[in-house]
Amino acid sequence: MSDTTADAGAPMQEGAKAREVRGYADVSGPTESKMVEQIGSQVARLKARLADVGAVVVIASGKGGVGKSAVTANLAVALVARGARVGAVDADLNGPSLGRMLGLLGSRLEDRPDGIVPARGPSGVLGISTELLIEEGAPLKWKGPDSDKFVWQGVTEAVTLREFMSDVVWGELDYLLIDIPPGTDKIGRFLDLVSEPDQVLLVTIPSEVASSVVSRSATQLKEAGVACMGVVGNMSGYAQPGGGDLLPLFTGPDVSDVAESAGLELWAEIPFDPAFGTLTDQGAPPGSDGDSAAARAFAALAERVEQGPGGRESQR
């Protein structure tokens, strides 16, 4: 593992061999470095932990700013209102907000030999987020050599995400919701850890740009073999404080058209409701509580998730 830039001498011609040496695959037996075995044991621990989870539900988009975390928080609360046991992982390590939205800030995590006990919000949702681990206002930074951070930083974050799932004492859950950060690469990184999530919700808004990114994400997920996906159209209109018809917020394509062009079913259309948004930001997401259009939309979305693969109603 020398510094390649310091290698002396002329480059070896393609196809030339310095000496006849057996290749990796020709040498039988386990590796003495025991790296493969340790990775295998980490994967086994993750699988064992998720064995007690009814359904892993991924909330993703690919696009930022479409309200994934708010959808996750309110869906979690709506599922709890239906009697489900729900955990939530804030996979947005660098821009966490789910912990705040679920009212977890200020919680201390119990450190047990079998794992870390997750924080429990006022609504009963269990959760984990980097917000609970780093100082308020501090950016996420990792210890390590200053140079060539790009080489190891992604690995470090993938391992943290793995620990958020495998090292947390979730107990028996009906649903574990995963709030994936923006970027289609982040969806791929999660699928490297959990290759077969039970359900994936792709959140979009009525915008040309968001629709384009969501279509890419849908293609990526289909190519990865993810079977159950639905589109959640967020901010699909403006819910006036006094009630009445929804007013348009965006001039882009209708979310039902976005779903259709991606070859997916539209699972929910959620209007933007300022009061709903304020409560969510304050750590008290209403979910399906109340008679607002947004609450009704989350009630319908929760029901749809319950009927989907791994959902409680699909098992009855």
């Binding site: 003495e32 025991k34 340790q38 980490q42 119990e110 030999p113 609970l132 930074k141």
Partner: protein, 162 residues
Amino acid sequence: MKFLCIPCDEVMKFADRDLPGDGTITALFTCGACGRDMAMLANPMETQLVSSLGIEIGGRTVPEQPFQQTRSKLESPKDDAFVEATAGDASIDAAVNPAEAPAARLSVTWSDEADDRLTNVPKFVRGMVKRIYTDYAKEKGIPLITPDVMDRARTDLGLEGM
């Protein structure tokens, strides 16, 4: 990663590793046939990459602790993020892994001096570090953890900075 002794065409065995404290790692491998030793020297970036995976070259000396990588790598951690388990370690060990119950039943206490030294460890990782020393003492049948026991554990387990 496999290391092959070319003259003997034998896979070299892992022998030892050393963390000099400058962010690098040295791993020693030996050929079982001719006795030849070789050292793999990794620069800080390479060492960090392997370490980021949460693995140790040659195998782990202690079981991986919950959130071990996250806790050991975060800058600006919230000092009071974690609270130690309220139940005694032994009862939790026994409940979690009945196979280890006999060792877990051994009651381990900390001397005042060892407790003082533990306060030098940042609170963010203190519970994890304390558990590593406690597990070591249980495994060795040591009922009282003193600074001397902590030193021995560090040497035996290849711990750095604990």
